[in-house]
Symmetry: C2
């Protein structure tokens, strides 16, 4: 009896051609994070429930994979922010602040499987802990701008807002329970105006307040126009004015950090559901893939780790949901999957006696740092060439051809079928020149 | 009430300076695997128990993290070989064979925490599936040779043996239950000759057979000497002779794949505990760190996935236990941990007014692909320099110095304290020239 080989629903597992592209994206992200001086962090996948869930509750807690081992209640991490908070609190005397870290690892959430939702997914996070300087809010976005540019996107929009602006406005219209309102505002674009109005009315907002609020969050224009517009509202609320000031500073910092104006907008509808944000909040959308929603979200918090330590740890961070992004790009046909090998060159043998020479050629190329696969099976040459084409190699080096004289091999460029006889001593130079 | 921030025993979590070195090692390993044409694979951490445990049993099964979610029995992967078997069986019609994959991910085993044992650790695996050619047995070792060379080790020994030699010898001395004997032989170096003798006697071996066996596995010399020695034993057992032939072929292939003779030995005591190996088996030791034991083990198997498919999937593979290796090197003081940042340069501001210029410099350096951190806090310059030294930056670029003329900044090389005034337009070139 054979066991059927299969995986659970809601888990992404890729074929080699896809995995190669996924890893390329991941490396671009990691390399860009390091370019800005963020240090890597790797935390355990499993932590003690009492530690990891110290602050959790509600919907999040229901989705957590929990289990018991011996006398320990354990759970799998459901994000990278809580482990970061725990890490920073635990190692605060060994770390130097401001502490800039990145973490690109899997997290697990037992969500109801549905289109585009995963139970296991990569998050790519950066945070700067221990700075209140709003330059860091913009620097985080500069990293994101660089990441998406390096990933080959041109048409993306980094959208920012500030919690203080929203909270200040709600205070101004005399409304207290801002957390609930923020959650409704946050999903404004996903539901009808009528539903939104009903939900806000259920919270106790008057029709007039609702009208003001919806008019307010839909103020649009360039960043300068929106900031002017907000200032002209003449709302004399301390928090509101502070929020405008912060929005203005972050916008200016973004420009001086090289973010192109057409990749950047203020959007007063962005609230972010999470409670811990206290200032700047952000989302990023790919203009050509509106269905994906925000590919990258984050914001500023006053207290990262207040359930673990009395020390104030203000900071700012952002998270890219890579698994979902990759899945959507794959489905949109935007991921090139013609290559199933990281190697450029396949070394094939025209006859079994030539295999020894193939071994030598493969080693010469590898020593020249050219990724090379050695074909070891005793197949007809035509079948080896078919394998090379199917796997997506750029070159096949063929040994043992009668036409090739002593000390020469045949090199075939697969894209053009152009074929050359090349001296073995020149083989690495030839490949490097023709890549 | 604050929750104490801590992690479980048996889990490795590193400080940034250590993590940077860990990641460097991991990248060397991944890059070398790709240089040889192995394609990346990433499988779910969680799989269905009925699938992942189809073949497991005994000690392994006791160590597996198992839990239930809804109606599913789940477990965390305990190695990368079983997920590979499942993957290859599941995707056999989409993959092209021989299939060469690498996988560098965490696995989990609920072992009793003890010195040098981890419950979560990275395995770095390569396998070639679908080839019986013994050239692949040697090619796997060529990758390992290259990995340890690139990691900076010179004094390491790749040790090979062949299960058929051992099994054939046991048949020759008329002993049937080879699996049990192999497990005892495998731990020969870890216990006294007397204990080994007792354990073998308990299995029913006669004193004469034990003497022969222990004499046999301790045959030593160069690979050629050992092979000659084995041939001269005149043991006329089909399996034994086949084993010698394979050992000889793999040894010769290793030399033609560029493995230095002093990094390579035949060791007849290597048996490997796992049942699925059928031919070549290997281990690698670091000569200067004998206490670590084998840092990298593997071998050839006739059937990778016979619990999932009827298709024959012979292959060969190896696994590096990176977490344990890193931990031991760290404890031996062999890991340099003087740098807590991936950035080369810190941009500091002599006064808050210079921060704008610092932003510009940081962006110029990043655009030149020089990893750069921008110091954002309003600290005294002396404190910024202390931060730079403590974090291990190579250079500090200081803006806003009175001595520096218009369009110039001060660059300080921290190792030498040499300080230069550099034109802003030349800053990237200056850093690149002085790195």
């Amino acid at each position: 009896m054979k066991t059927e080989p299969k995986i659970l629903a809601g888990y992404m597992e890729l074929l080699p051609a896809q995995q190669i592209q996924f890893n390329k994206m991941l490396r671009v992200i990691q390399d860009t994070f390091e370019l800005y001086g963020f240090a890597p962090l790797d935390t355990p996948a499993i932590e003690m429930s009492q530690v990891l869930l110290a602050k959790a509750g509600g919907e999040t807690e229901k989705q957590i994979y929990k289990f018991t081992r011996g006398k320990n209640d354990l759970c799998l991490r459901f994000d990278l922010t809580v482990p970061l908070a725990r890490y920073v609190a635990q190692r605060q005397n060994q770390l130097v602040f401001p502490f800039k870290r990145y973490q690109t690892q899997k997290v697990w959430r037992a969500e109801r499987p549905q289109k585009g939702r995963f139970r296991e997914f990569y998050q790519c996070d950066i945070d700067i802990i221990g700075s209140k300087n709003l330059l860091t809010d913009a620097e985080i976005l500069s990293v994101i701008y660089q990441v998406f540019t390096r990933l080959g996107f041109e048409r993306f929009t980094i959208k920012i807002n500030n919690r203080k602006v929203l909270n200040g406005f709600l205070q101004f219209i005399n409304f207290k329970d801002s957390a609930q309102v923020l959650r409704i505002i946050d999903k404004l674009e996903k539901q009808s105006q009528q539903n939104t109005t009903e939900e806000l009315a259920n919270l106790g907002l008057t029709p007039d307040a609702i009208k003001k609020l919806l008019g307010f969050v839909q103020i649009c224009g360039t960043p300068d126009q929106i900031i002017n517009n907000l200032q002209q509202l003449n709302i004399n609320n301390r928090q509101f004015l502070q929020g405008i000031k912060e929005l203005k500073t972050v916008s200016q910092n973004m420009l001086s950090l090289g973010i192109e104006p057409n990749n950047f907008a203020i959007d007063l509808k962005i609230a972010r559901g999470l409670d811990y944000y206290t200032g700047t909040v952000y989302e990023t959308i790919l203009n050509d893939y509106p269905q994906i929603g925000s590919v990258c979200s984050g914001g500023r918090y006053d207290n990262l780790a207040n359930c673990y330590t009395n020390r104030d740890l203000p900071g700012v961070g952002v998270s890219i949901g890579l698994t979902r992004l990759f899945d959507q790009l794959l489905k949109a046909g935007s991921i090139k999957t013609s290559t199933s090998t990281p190697a450029q060159v396949l070394v094939a043998s025209a006859n079994p006696a030539a295999l020894n020479q193939s071994v030598k050629i493969a080693q010469i190329l590898r020593q020249a740092n050219i990724a090379t696969e050695l074909f070891t099976e005793d197949y007809l040459l035509s079948k080896q060439l078919k394998y090379a084409a199917r796997q997506g190699f750029k070159f096949v080096v063929i040994t043992g051809m009668r036409e090739a004289g002593e000390g020469k091999v045949t090199v075939k460029k697969l894209a053009t079928s152009v074929q050359d006889e090349v001296k073995i001593s020149d083989i690495a130079i030839y490949i490097n020149n023709h890549i």
